[in-house]
Amino acid sequence: MAELLRAERLVKEFPVKRGTVHAVSGVSFTIAKGETLGLVGESGCGKSTLGRLLLNLLEPTSGAVWFKGQDLSELKGREQRELRRGMQMIFQDPYASLDPRMSVGSLIMEPLNAHRVGNRREREEQVRGLMEQVGIRPEFFGRYPHQFSGGQRQRIGIARALALNPELVICDEPVSALDVSIQAQILNLLADLQKARGLTYLFISHDLNVVRYLSDRVMVMFLGQICELSPTEALYENPRHPYTKFLLEAVPQPDPTLRDAERVLLTGEVASPLNPPPGCRFHSRCPWADAICREKQPDLVEMAPGHLCACHHPMVDREIF
């Protein structure tokens, strides 16, 4: 598959009073055209910052983002804006991401106005078409966000993101604020749109079940770094990084017969990206950490075809729990 996006040694640091927040520390990966790459990790692991770096909403401290073969940071002004039209974002909170004083029609039309697409009538036509595609009745053009439910607002957010016909859509926790039955509606909609428009998704979520359902490949982040990146089933069936294993173990499964299974839980707190420890960033919580883990950062190496893992002692065909 053709490469659509490439992140090269992306680093984002935020200087603060008490040191430096290492939000993203040397992250490299590619996304192929038409695939869905899932991105999971806990609060503070840098997954949202990474999404914003890819869109150039944040400027990286170092490293580069290539989109359709062009280095985003090399481009200036108009050219960069043109290239960025091809990547859009869907946000978590459908209540906070829509301006309450704008009608639904004008919200969806805003990106078309900003990029001066067609004349007024053509834009309106396009907005109605988009509304239909995401399942909002075009008659509601003049209504306001508060007149819609959370699920419908997320549909509006999706229509807005699709207005400029992007190739890549970065979905940042798009269903975490929604009820289960509504969540399924939105996930189905995202799948339909992907099929109809050949979209590529980066799907950021803390919900491992949702990510498994949607993704072709999954990337796991811990404290600003990739610890594992793999085709979906291989990751869930045969995780190599201890952190991935712990995450999978921790998810409460909707099956009470599994409740008394011996599960090993991660102890301790999610560590702070403020002045992270040397060596492997997971070492302070990892039961198998030894001297080398405390000193040297592990490289991301390919353990099986397409299955990358950054660990000095990866879990290879051994029972550990």
């Binding site: 079940n209 009470p256 017969t257 409740r259 999610v270």
Partner: protein, 321 residues
């Protein structure tokens, strides 16, 4: 008396400005929590599960009112007590923990101050004894270096730590009933798993009964003995947790279970319940779920089904049985 809590035919309504008619948020709910048991109350936003629990606490908003019904705590009707008597029961015999521990803790007072005050408010311990008890509780809920943490302010703790503090505070008086309203929804999975385990350990050790309010079926399967499923202000199904997950009977419960991504392989469409929850002020005439139900007949639209026993205490509100 085998039940610590028994709610009988509870009806709760809310006034809203400019309208004569009150909106009925809880419409004839009956449920019981056995002594030493963990009971789940499940449903989506607006189904009335939180209003039910706030009624037990006597913490309804000013425009809310219990119109009828009984709330028996170990046989004694809480609704017949004075405000003062109810205050004494809150914190002493019933405690509640909420979703967002940051908003439940006072940001300008130290953890130690708040936990100690809570203990003194409900006991005749002197300051030193209450402080010792507070440290003991923080230790019990797994807060490292509890003595040092006593001097911290809430913002200095992580979300998981804050929720531990809330649980410690809630358990300090060894209440007979702990009401937990989405206690892990705001937490990361690894922390969620720790908190769930903590709640189970405390319940096993101290015999506290728990009413767990959640939308997360995984959490229910992990922790609860029995489950009540609520929809649009009413209980639609009740069973022990194993029966419910093995053979749920109500089309709404079935829809909820089916829309969980875990059950569906990638590429297949997720089941979704069509439509949205009905408006409190425009409830359907017959079965409240009928407009969204694929099995609904004319009968369902005109007449309301009763909650009936379909075998061995498994209750279901559906004509199909």
């Amino acid at each position: 008396m085998n039940n610590i809590l028994e709610i009988r035919d509870l009806i709760v309504s809310f006034a809203s400005d400019g309208r004569k008619e009150r909106a009925v948020a809880v419409n004839g709910v009956s449920l019981s929590v056995p002594k030493g048991g963990i009971v789940g109350l499940v449903g989506e936003s607006g189904c009335g599960k939180s209003v039910t629990s706030l009624s037990v606490m006597g913490l309804l908003a000013d425009n809310g009112r219990v119109d009828s019904g009984e709330i028996l705590l170990d046989g004694e009707d809480l609704l017949k007590l004075s405000d003062r008597q109810r205050r004494d029961i809150r914190g002493n015999r019933i405690s509640m923990i909420f979703q967002e521990p940051m908003t439940s803790l006072n940001p300008v007072l130290t953890i130690g101050h708040q936990v100690t005050e809570a203990i003194r408010r409900h006991s005749d311990m002197d300051k030193a004894a209450a402080r010792a008890r507070a440290i003991e509780m923080l230790d019990k809920v797994g807060i490292p270096e509890p003595e040092k943490r006593m001097g911290n302010f809430p913002h200095q703790l992580s979300g998981g730590m804050r929720q531990r503090v809330m649980i410690g505070m809630g358990m300090a008086m060894a209440p007979e009933l702990l009401i937990a309203d989405e206690p892990t929804t705001a937490l990361d999975v690894s922390i969620e798993a720790q908190i769930l385990r903590l709640m189970r350990d405390l319940q096993r050790a101290g015999g506290t009964s728990i009413l767990m309010i959640t939308h997360n079926l995984g959490v229910v399967a992990e922790l609860c003995d029995e489950v009540y499923v609520m929809y649009a202000g009413e209980v639609v199904e009740h069973a022990d947790v194993y029966t419910l997950f093995r053979e749920c009977a109500h089309p709404y419960t079935r829809g909820l279970m089916a829309s969980l991504p875990r059950m569906t392989p990638k590429g297949k469409r997720l089941y979704n319940i069509p439509g949205t929850v009905p408006n409190l002020r425009a409830m359907p005439q017959g079965c409240r779920f009928a407009p969204r139900c694929e099995y609904a007949t004319e009968h369902c639209h005109s007449e309301k089904p009763a909650l009936k026993d379909i075998g061995g205490g498994h209750l279901c509100r559906c004509f199909r049985g």
